[in-house]
Structure formats: C-alpha cells, structure tokens
Subunit: 294 residues, 2 copies
C-alpha cells in the first residue's frame, strides 16, 4: 500500500465509504478526518472507520500523504482556502469527490494563481439517495467507474496515486477533461434529477396528491426515486454546473416539444418510432449502465 | 368459485398472469383463449395455463361466464365489434384490462347505442417492461391495486363478479370514473413514460452516445428503465389518452420552466426549496407507492 496517512476533509457517505472500503480490504492506513458535523466524526470513530478526529481541516491534513476533500461542493472553496498550503507541498497529493469538476479546477487555479500540480480532481460515479457516514459502504465503488479530470499540469505521479486509491476500492478509473465530465454528467445525472424533482413536485402540488401517489406504480416509482436525493447537494450541482445543465435541458425540451406536437396532432405512429428508437438504445446500452440488473 | 369458464380475448402478459394466478390458487376454472399470435396460445397450452385454444374471438367467448378483453388497446374496437353480442347477454360479464378507460367506455356505448350494463372496465396497476405470455406471473397482481371504472348503468352483480376476479388474485380493487382514472394515470404513469422516452432518445441521439451511457449510473438507470417498455402499447396510450396527457405535460412544463429560470438566474436557494418540497413528498408517499422497497 502506498498510503500511510489519508486525511478526509468532510466525512459523509463518500468519505466514509472510502474509509470502510480500505478497512474491509485490511489496508494498513491511518485515517484522520474533520467534518463540521461532529456527530458524524464520533460515529465514524465508534465504528472504527477513522483513527483520529481533527479539530479543523487544517489539523486533519497535517502529515497526510493523501488529502481527500469530500465536503459538499458548496463548502469546497472555503476548505481549500483553509488548507491552501497543501497544494504547494511536494509531500502530499490532493483529490476531491465532487459531482462537478470545472468549477473546482478553476477555483484552485485562481486560489494559487496557477493550476496545482498535485491536485487530481475526481468523481466516483456511485450515486445513492442515501447520505451521511451512517450509510457508508465499503463496496460502494466496487465495479463502478471513477472519473479523474487531471489538467495538463498535473504530475503523473499524483494521478497514479489517486488512481491507486480508487483501484484499491475495486473501481475502474477513467480520465477526461473537467469540461467533458461536466457535460456528460449534466446529461446522464443532473438533468434526470431535475426532471424527477420537477415531476414529483408537480404531482404533489395537486389537490389530490394523496390519491395520486396511491396509484403510482412501477414507472413512477423508478422515475421518482432520485427525487429523494439531498436537496442541498443538488442545489450546489445546479449552481456550479448551470451551463452544461441548461444546454442538456434545451436539447431535451426540443425532443419533448416534438413529441408533444405528435400527440396533439394525433401522429402517434411517428411517436412510436421515437419510442422504438429509445427502447432500442436503452436495451442496447443496458449492459453498459452501471448497476443495471435488468 | 363463481366462475366456471373464463374466456380471454388476447393472451399476453396480463391475460397470461390472470390465468397463471388462478392455476396457482387451484381454482377450478376452464380457460379458453384467442390471440392473433398463435405461438402465444400454443405456449400457454403447453404450460397448462389455458384449456382451449379458440380460432377466433367469437369462438373463444362461447359459453363463457366472464370475458376478459386483454388485447392491446388499439385492437379493442375490432374485437368488441366481433363479440358485440356478449354485451347484450344476461349470462356473461365482460371486462378489459386496458391502460386507458374513457375511450373504451365511449366506444362500447357507441357500439351498442347505449352503455353496456354487463361491461366492467378495469385496469390492473401492475406495470412491467416485460411483455408477452412468456412473462406471465401468477403473483403479478398480488398486493397491487386494480382500478374498476363502472358506469352508473353497470349492474352491481357484474361489478361484484369482476371484483371477485381480482380479489382471487390478491389484488385490492378500487372504483372511480373513467375520466378520473385517465387523469390519474396520465400523471403517474403516462407522463413519466413520455419523459423517459424523451430523455433516452435525446441522449442516444448525441454523437457520443456510447460514451455517455458508459457513465450513466443510478439516477439515469432508474429513470430510463421504463423507456424499455413496448413502443406500440405506449403509442396507443398516447393516442387514446391525449387530453389528460397534454394537460399533465403542461403542468409539468410550467414547473420545469420555473426551475430552469431559477438555474439561469442563479437563484439556487429557491431551487433547493422546490427540491426539498419534492423530497419531502417522495419520502412521505414512499410507503404508498406500489412496489417501492426503499
């Protein structure tokens, strides 16, 4: 194992699951952690996930050879300012786990006046409606993809180290640019969440919402489950990735407009062609969709 | 058991599952069936689901005390014309299992020049992306709701008989007007399917669709599964229930417009309020959503 001391700044579902995954695989690594939620930290200590509770982000990263920033996206700027010195240290590698990558890269570059060579932005594609360290699961990343978005300036040794972190947890690591990551996630994750929130809110605002939900079956169940996701985390996603999300939404609207016109005009055979095309795509890609057990 | 001979006109997933459910519960009922797909009928005979293969809809219903019309919605008009005489017989009760109810009620009334007193329209809320008698499952309706939409003219004895059919299969029976059924289903089922088809088609039309689907995780998986549903069945739903669907879509669009404006204007705290409201509704109603195992 190439890590001796991993420091978590923010210890929720993702940070906790990283620690649990290492523990489960008998890796001899020391974990220190800071979180504004001290109950989270106590719980992680009690469960043996971490070795040390730090009193601040700054205290957590002392002597660490890897720093994992796993706070909500909205808190990252403040945290990064606090631990700014780690970005210029040759002894440590820094990564994060945020759902949006371009903004965090830009922020670090602005903070330092240049891109950090030891910062490897990351995003494990392992969503869950659950949140908090209490939901930590050492196999959360196993068989899933983790996307890393290093810049041209990022040292290859730092990339290798963060790759090793995720491969230890049995994730598959892929790399791409921050902008490309943000576009892909806007389409496959952020837009679906927006639609699910919009649908559930539309239905629950009706006067007969109690009745409506009684008759909601399979389709609605699958569709709406993601509307149970953490509102604050998703607020931050839509703040920090608004451009790609609005672009994806615009494409979606064009298609929906087209389908609405077909319904209104009774041109349902043309509608069925779109349905068939979508079904063929979904069936074709079913094996590629992570966690799909159809 | 109050049935001696149940005739199926159309024997796919729903008809096959009704037959399988009776067989499983050792009910001594004779089943006859007609389907334009003779392979379906042969399969059902081989598996012991039915007793007689009929050569036509008309032949299937001879001597039946209950006729279950379980064809795709688009085929119902033709079938009902063919077996028109059953609607004026005192010896038989007729039901159907279509996803849309007002149109079928109107059609029967037009066909006879008056509402049929022995026709009890029904809709089991037991969706599946699977189709065909090969997917038949005797417990498909157990613990689920079946909605009946009898008219004022419908004989109470006929309603009781169809209620008994579903209760034998361990479904919970509720009754409402055809129009109310269609409005509720437009919101909880038809609109979600439209959105899922639109999203999958939007994503799969992009030049990098192969790549996109590789990174699609939980949210997209849940959201898009229903886009694997049968395109022809869903075409018919949107043809026969266009009014309520367009009304539900219009409400949804208003909410989506509002949310888009909040993203564009950076008013993400207001966006988070909508997310929180939707999450609260989804969490609150989770126990009411059929088949939800969260």
């Amino acid at each position: 194992m190439q890590f001796e001391h991993i420091a978590f700044v923010g210890l929720g579902l993702i940070g906790g699951s990283i620690a649990a995954g290492f523990r489960q695989r008998d890796a001899a690594v020391r974990f220190s952690a800071f979180d504004i939620n001290t109950a989270n930290l106590k719980r992680a200590m009690d469960e043996g996930l971490i070795d040390d509770i730090a009193s601040s982000a700054k205290a957590a990263v002392v002597d660490a050879d890897l720093v994992v920033i796993a706070t909500p996206v909205v808190a990252m700027a403040e945290v990064m300012e606090e631990i700014k010195s780690v970005f210029s240290s040759a002894e440590v590698v820094v990564t994060d786990v945020g759902s949006v990558k371009a903004e965090v890269c830009d922020f670090v570059a602005d903070l330092l006046g240049q891109p950090a060579t030891n910062f490897v932005p990351g995003h494990p594609i392992a969503g869950s409606e659950q949140a908090g360290v209490g939901a930590a699961n050492g196999d959360l990343f196993a068989g899933r993809k983790t996307i890393l978005t290093p810049l041209a300036e990022t040292e290859s040794e730092a990339i290798a180290k963060v790759t090793a972190l995720w491969e230890t947890l049995d994730a598959t690591v892929v790399t791409m640019t921050p902008a490309h990551h943000d576009e892909i996630l806007a389409q496959t994750s952020h837009l679906p969440h927006l639609l699910a929130y919009a649908l559930v809110d539309t239905l629950s605002s009706g006067g007969d919402s109690l009745e409506i939900f009684q008759y909601a079956a399979g389709g609605f169940r699958d569709f709406s489950r993601i509307a149970a996701s953490d509102p604050v985390m998703w607020r931050d996603v839509f703040r920090t990735n608004s451009g790609p999300v609005l672009a994806a939404l615009s494409q979606f609207r064009d298609r929906l407009d087209e389908m609405e016109a077909l319904i209104r005009d009774g041109r349902v055979d043309d509608l069925a062609k779109i349905f068939a095309r979508a079904k063929a795509a979904r069936d074709h890609f079913s094996s590629l969709i992570e966690g799909d057990d159809d």
